[in-house]
Symmetry: C2
Subunit: 314 residues, 2 copies
């Protein structure tokens, strides 16, 4: 089994309160929950708020949407398994005969191991909402002048990190925006959104700060990759204290330089390698931070928060 | 590999046209596509239309939402692997050491087999949007008088059936509604929705008909299960001719009798075993049927269709 992270006492208390209030519905597996109607209302309100803030900032991103599975070959080419082997989820399926199907069903019905009947398919679970954007943009050929901004929406991502912390889910919504353009354009966009997102989250009443950050690279060699990422300030996060010993990252801003454009061959209008950056708002983490900050009864939330989320009172 | 269903010439032509118009974005894996902005606008309009039709019919379902993974133990208990072993997707992940991670990344980078490094997790992909509803309702104890109606939304389901038919996806949105109540209440609800859904789809200009149907049970013994299901008229489908030799099911209506309530122990207010039924609208199939019927340029669609989907012109 993957290293299960036990909840701290305050994380366990928060999870119990969220379940008791009907915001989260336990599935029996840590980090996998259903969502009640108020939770979903806040989540969709937040997503709409991000869209409105983007529009007000003059952004006109193109909407594209992708399902929560990615071709396995793309994961292999991305080098994801070098950096995050512990977080990847792969899709297996049955390919056998009727007799094998009966044997599999019998073992599964008795809750015995039925691994041997499952084969790796050509799909994996989506590790990050922006991953399918880059090959989709690359298919179109050279970028238009000024590059593109893509809105892949608030879509599901999977990370195999079972935890008792209600703010650390295995399957969660990440609302991303992706910028693909000349290097200086992309950097300015990333820095602009870092400031805009901080204002957005503080405007919802969250005690948010930002910091230089690094990805959770695997193992000892991963520590060097993390140090290099920090040194180059390629990743920023916005942090809010939710529960546990440390603040939780609720949004992140990643500058990939030419990593993705090099892999997929994306070039700018004047024939240079494009750079890319993305930002992501962690839907469920922000909703939980709002519930912790403003109370579990959404109908009592401050009018300015309701107005930002829904344009009206809860 | 799973039996790949080749596209018929008209299915291949439709897929090419949908891709050329930007409605579907190929991932490289059959049955897995991104969606363009107009496709998504129609899909969300359809989802809203179903909600409005439900409201107009006096339905007041409770909103619950679930991520597209299910506890493996629930799949095992459901007997899904007896009926549909060929459609299930299971989630595997890495559990090894740093040396094993390096070996895995090397094999994956060379597109060699890295199966041996992956272990079965306690999650599977969601086979049907209604499956997590039943244990969630069971947790609450005895049903209120009159039972409950749950709206699990237009959420993702996975079926491992790679195909060249653009109307047969591996990961797709199924908009469900679930009724849990006394047997006669549930049957009347299912029959009412069968007629209402036919009217809804015909109102969008689709040449839709309904028929008694059966699930795609696996193997020879599955043919007997299918015959029994038909004989008891437990499943209806609404069919539309999209492409290929036979019409495509775009909605289904399933009466489970006491199957789920027995598994999870759901009882009515007067202490009897509840019955359950669900209906599902296949989002992507209906959007593709609309694009085929009204044309690939959504801005030219008939005003009455636009009005139903968005309340205004496209």
């Amino acid at each position: 089994m993957a290293a299960y992270r036990e909840a701290t006492p305050d994380q366990a208390e928060l999870l119990d309160a969220l379940v008791a209030a009907g915001h989260l519905i336990p599935s029996g597996v840590p980090g996998v929950y259903g969502r009640g109607s108020d939770f979903e209302k806040v989540r969709l309100g937040l997503d709409g708020h991000v869209t409105r803030v983007a529009t007000a900032a003059g952004e006109t991103p193109e909407t594209l949407r992708f399902p929560p599975v990615l071709p396995r070959r793309q994961l292999e080419d991305l080098g994801y398994l070098e950096s995050f082997p512990h977080l990847a989820g792969t899709v297996f399926a049955f390919e056998g005969t009727e007799a094998q199907a009966r044997a599999q069903a019998e073992r599964a019905g008795g809750h015995e191991d039925w691994t041997e009947h499952q084969c790796m398919t050509d799909l994996v679970l989506m590790p990050a909402v922006c991953y399918p954007v880059y090959p989709a943009v690359a298919r179109r050929g050279t970028l238009p002048a000024g590059g593109v901004t893509i809105d892949p929406g608030g879509s599901y991502a999977f990370r195999h990190e079972p935890s008792g912390d209600p703010a650390r889910l295995q399957m969660f919504h990440m609302r991303e925006l992706v910028r693909i353009a000349e290097p200086e354009t992309v950097q300015a966009w990333r820095d602009g959104w870092r400031d805009r997102a901080l204002e957005l989250l503080r405007g919802l009443g969250l005690d948010a700060d930002f910091d230089v950050a690094s990805d959770p690279f695997f193992g000892r060699s991963g520590r060097m990759m993390a140090a290099s990422q920090r040194e180059q300030a390629l990743k920023f996060e916005i942090l809010v204290q939710i529960a546990g010993p440390e603040p939780t990252a609720v949004a992140s801003f990643n500058y990939h330089q030419d990593h993705f454009s090099g892999l997929y061959g994306i070039t700018t209008a004047d024939g240079q390698p494009a750079h890319t950056a993305c930002l992501g708002f962690g839907h469920e983490r922000i909703v939980i931070a709002l519930l912790k900050t403003h109370g579990l009864d959404v109908s009592t939330w401050p009018p300015e928060v309701c107005d930002a989320l829904w344009g009206v009172a809860a």
